[in-house]
Symmetry: C2
């Protein structure tokens, strides 16, 4: 991607609808679920978009598919840097396009993530966090092999793909005037949904949700100034991006309400309540939005709230920790 692409040009409704058309029959139309018990806890109707049921267990398949399907015919492969959901989304989308996928991952990534990404047919390139520059390595691979780089959020087709979640919401939730709480890392999903809702359901407004210590987007929305997080590791591994994106932040600044922030304990409890009340497996980074709806209702407006459960790729040990955390409270 050479030079700066103005946002209004990069992700307009035409591009979003084109991505949706390419995704039709490829991505799952995920259900919008609810539970009287969660409604009671939150003090309002809570509608949960179960994007953890998407192919590869997260919304990232949408952006991966949208980017892959927009490439010129001669492009034989793609490169992506990720040890998590983006890696799996791109790997499966590439395999289904008959294209090669090179996934660049730190050599200390969990064995299950390495195995899962390989099982989807991707070629893995492992690097040493201490001595190697990940981005330089990705560009080198892309250059040498003539592959396209698919960034996790700052890419117009990736954002347009994630926007399909917003188009589905506009259809599924009809005329509901609700805030839409979106788990936010780099902001690709939040910005995509915000753009889709602006066009199709302007009575809905996106609110980003982040974990404590990683509230770069909430701070930037409040002040207008982007200051990266200082913390590096935490429970919500899928959304620990240091700062909002160059393409995503201007969209969020224009369209999103104030950012919400939740604690790790609230995230674990939300995961346990999704287990008992929705029968869904949600990962920590995919549970921040539900945590905000359940435990910070006073910061949210409206009789209904929509929550994106953005992913479900969680290890057994963390899931058990969540179930045990909620057991310490009475109402699970």
């Amino acid at each position: 991607m050479a030079g700066h692409v103005p946002v209004s040009e990069s992700v307009d409704l035409a591009r979003i609808l084109a991505a949706q058309a390419r995704l039709a029959g490829r991505a799952r139309r995920t259900p919008l679920l609810s539970s009287p018990a969660l409604d009671a806890l939150a003090g309002r109707r809570v509608l949960v978009k179960a994007e953890c049921l998407q192919h590869t267990g997260s919304f990232k398949f949408r952006g991966g598919w949208a980017a892959l399907s927009a490439l010129p015919e001669g492009m034989r492969g793609v490169v992506a840097a990720s040890s998590g959901n983006h890696a799996q989304g791109v790997a499966l989308a590439a395999a289904r396009h008959g294209r090669a996928a090179v996934i660049v991952m730190p050599d200390d990534a969990p064995a299950t993530k390495i195995a899962n990404t390989r099982a989807l047919g991707a070629e893995l390139v492992l690097y040493d966090r201490a001595t190697q520059d990940r981005d330089a390595l990705c560009h080198e691979i892309a250059e040498t092999r003539g592959f396209a780089l698919i960034p996790p959020f700052d890419h117009p087709e990736v954002i347009a793909g994630q926007a399909s979640v917003g188009l589905e919401l506009a259809e599924q939730a009809g005329g509901v005037a609700a805030q839409v709480l979106v788990c936010c890392g780099g902001g690709g999903l939040s910005a995509g949904i915000a753009l889709a809702l602006e066009a199709r359901a302007p009575q809905m407004q996106v609110r980003t949700v982040e974990p404590e210590g990683f509230d770069d987007t909430a701070r930037a929305l409040a002040t207008g100034i982007v200051t990266p997080n200082t913390a590096r590791t935490g429970l919500c591994d899928a959304i620990l991006t240091p700062a909002p994106g160059r393409l995503t932040f201007p969209v969020l600044r224009r369209l999103a309400g104030p950012g919400l922030v939740v604690t790790d304990i609230e995230v674990l409890r939300a995961m346990a309540l999704a287990f008992s009340r929705l029968k869904l497996v949600i990962e920590p980074g995919g549970a921040v939005a539900l945590a905000a709806a359940l435990f910070h209702p006073e910061k949210i407006a409206g009789e209904s709230v929509i929550v994106i459960a953005s992913g479900g790729n969680v290890d057994r040990a963390v899931f058990i920790r969540a179930l045990n955390e909620e057991a310490r409270h009475a109402d699970c």
Copy 2:
């Protein structure tokens, strides 16, 4: 229900379609999910109907709603005997019809089940297993209060409601010639689906699946003779019915293939694989069909198999046991 109602009269296609029409917009149309990893394990395409995402966490809401919505207008309430999924399905259906629900439950039922059923607005009558006759108590309540009794499976409207799962499958899985594995207790879900498929997708065939020690339906299908199980308690609490039903068994004998049987270890592993690969919470009784698909592929025919994940109401401790069981194996 006075006297014997011949099956052909009691649940025909007209009754099934009428039940489906009353369920439209009330029951969730649950998604049909899949995962490349499960396909690889089973050696064929595995399509999972996620009925654990139904209201109250199991398919029982369908039969409950169908029965409630078929009652004459003057009927002010219903009685059901169940400590589990049938209780919750009937309680919610009654509440949404503005009718009273009396749920008869043993006084040693788990506190969470009592609390969940009460939270749905039902009135609970607890009885002593050692000294009281449950069925007599139900009839007495129905008689005294003028309420209708809603049995868990041997009831034409209940079977017609469960049949809506089969109608959805016929639409969702299109022309696939597949065996449909159904978790089987009294056979209401299995018989309902079998009748729907006979009418709408005759290339699909129901196979019942039961846990070891509770294979009353498999034995009866093999021999034609109903002999009740001797065991009473087990892991798969939702489907430990002692014998197939008077209305359900003749349907299964006519339409179902040989019954399948799985072990408790296989059930626990299937629950863990649904967690990691489908992001679904399935209870033991709802996981027997998936266990058969994954661990007994040689007993199943066809390039694809359809599995009903019939419920997700599982306690934390049992779920953790399942996750730990699978961790002892390599491929989770």
